[in-house]
Symmetry: C2
Subunit: 439 residues, 2 copies
Amino acid sequence: MTAVAIRHLRSDAPEFDEQLRRLQHWSAETDAAIEQRVAEIVDDVRRRGDAAVLDYTARFDALPAASVEALQLTRDELKQAFDTITPAQRDALQAAAARVRAFHERQLEACGRSWHYRDEDGTLLGQKVTPLDRVGIYVPGGKAAYPSSVLMNALPAQVAGVGEIVMVVPTPRGEKNALVLAAAYVAGVTRAYTIGGAQAVAALAYGTAAVPRVDKITGPGNAYVASAKRRVFGQVGIDMIAGPSEILVLADGGTPADWVAMDLFSQAEHDELAQSILLCPDAGYIADVQAAIDRLLPEMPRRDVIRASLEGRGALVLTRSMEEACEISNRIAPEHLEVSASEPGRWEPLLHHAGAIFLGAYTSESLGDYCAGPNHVLPTSGTARFSSPLGVYDFQKRSSLIEVSEAGAHKLGPIAAELAYGEGLQAHARAAEMRLRKP
Amino acid sequence: MTAVAIRHLRSDAPEFDEQLRRLQHWSAETDAAIEQRVAEIVDDVRRRGDAAVLDYTARFDALPAASVEALQLTRDELKQAFDTITPAQRDALQAAAARVRAFHERQLEACGRSWHYRDEDGTLLGQKVTPLDRVGIYVPGGKAAYPSSVLMNALPAQVAGVGEIVMVVPTPRGEKNALVLAAAYVAGVTRAYTIGGAQAVAALAYGTAAVPRVDKITGPGNAYVASAKRRVFGQVGIDMIAGPSEILVLADGGTPADWVAMDLFSQAEHDELAQSILLCPDAGYIADVQAAIDRLLPEMPRRDVIRASLEGRGALVLTRSMEEACEISNRIAPEHLEVSASEPGRWEPLLHHAGAIFLGAYTSESLGDYCAGPNHVLPTSGTARFSSPLGVYDFQKRSSLIEVSEAGAHKLGPIAAELAYGEGLQAHARAAEMRLRKP
């Protein structure tokens, strides 16, 4: 097997900035034909409801059914799936769920509670934080069926106190993934439907006779699902539209090269567009990682995908220093950022933009993906500049609370009136001024 | 002047559910011609940068300029505008800003701080909360130029610690609104450009030679601006796309009818699509409010807009009880919800979905719009079911922190490996298993 032709870059090369820009480039352009098709499907489901859902499910998933109710899976059926998987799988799912739940409970405590205060005039101000009533979780079927993704989407909703968690998962030709259904059982999914694609997104967004309308839809999906989520945004909330998955490893040369090579593989094995980048100030270590890549690749069942990803979008970058590596990392704003260094706490304060930061040699991204506790749904394609991991906060909303006292109305009235007249909104001004007099 | 023909509904009528559905209907459908035009403008600005911005500004705003730098307003120029407004206006702006800032500082303390903990194995888990580096604030020009909107968008960004706040505001024919610029000065806007429309949104999203690329764009705008924000979403963050403004008043009959009528007006005066609804279990009081509407309307300078809004989209609804009024309010999920009742605290716990809840007779929406403290940028069109007021949290992002100890890696490795093999991701499993051995 030939050596993996991953690109080697140097940050001190004059063309580095341009190389980095090209490396980061990923087109989120949408396909006009897909957009058009999805618009038709969404409109059709909105108009014809269950009948349309049944038609598309029969056509796209080769799964004819007499009614959408017949495609529903109850909690009992999810439980049955849980009972059929191996004891080791059951234990792993439950252990992972317990840790993910515990982390999100801490998150709820840290930032998910209502609060209020009274100012000196007795006016009450605050925010009431409440869970969403009902959410939809989209779970892909087929080859990329990930039970861990069910846990990561449903558990924050459950911890937030969402009343009903409705899962949709396509099952082409009726083939169900027992691990996915078992994960749904463990994560508190209320009910599930074996439907998918744009038709499932539309059914959740608008509701049909069988499928209840939800308030928000989260979870990954193919281009049709992504397009449908964009289209129904506003009617319901959605999470971010994810791009290809990425890992950036900052290494000081102290971690075994095999570990780092395997971490790069674990991102690359997702698909050919996934991106694995190493930043390191030690040229000898970079050579060790290249050697480890070449040595370990033949052992990997998904070696073809890994090679295509590393050669197409990967890079091993020699930096001037760890400080410069941190600065380059901030420009990239990676989804996953491993700081594989002996003093990770020295570099963490320099890192401003990342979905998740994995500190120290023992913290492989894969531990975070499955069971460390934090969410594995993270902002991709540089969107960590402005967005956050999926969390309890995504399944809550806030309402401002204002109770102005009589004294407060006397103080605030003239201020509001002055500004309202300045904006030409006289009714606003009058409403404030009326409160200056006794009723 | 004829009586205002606002619709009177009764919740006990068999057709009420359907009437309510029709009342709530507002089509967010986008205009394909606008979409197409905006796509061209955004692409052009992305390609030609400043040259394109100058072309569109000359054409749409009748404001020719030699360079985009010539359209920039520095802090000094904002200060000059602040010095030209009246002392009363200066005082009102500063008083409002102080209160809005104080509320958002409370919000930062309540839910905007980093946190972490260690589990029993010494593994560190947490979230690092950091401000966005640079944000753009869109401020409409012309007739709907609202200085209060500048405060409400810029102050949460400033409190969050955003490094740079860039404002764009179109100034057709070069006419500047001194109150808007003064508000920008008070609210800590770093610099401003007198550009607007889709071209300004594109310049902020992609950056040009003169305009720096931002991480998020917030603020209201016309259909072109809304379409451009949707289009650049993903490249940058955006706030919600707002629909028409709405108020829902729950009244038990104890508040002076004039006050409630004026509160309904203050929403209706925004534009003809704005919506004002009263829910009340007291038929006599509803008649009083109708009489107050008819009596007060002729005094209002914006009476034509108010009448059109009330007759087109308003309603006075007789409910069976206050409890039922709360239940109907939850179905509507209004942007502004006034509980104009003698015991507002009795009803507040029953209210689950609203952008802001104004409690008690003294709490006119207009006090909240300008200076109570909470943000006036709120979810419209029922989106309070799943979204929140603009806040400090919109100008921060979170990064998960994970530092797995050696003991933690030994405990988590087998769990991660079991799940990874179950998903067919062998590199993930191997990366976890490698950490089970000493390096």
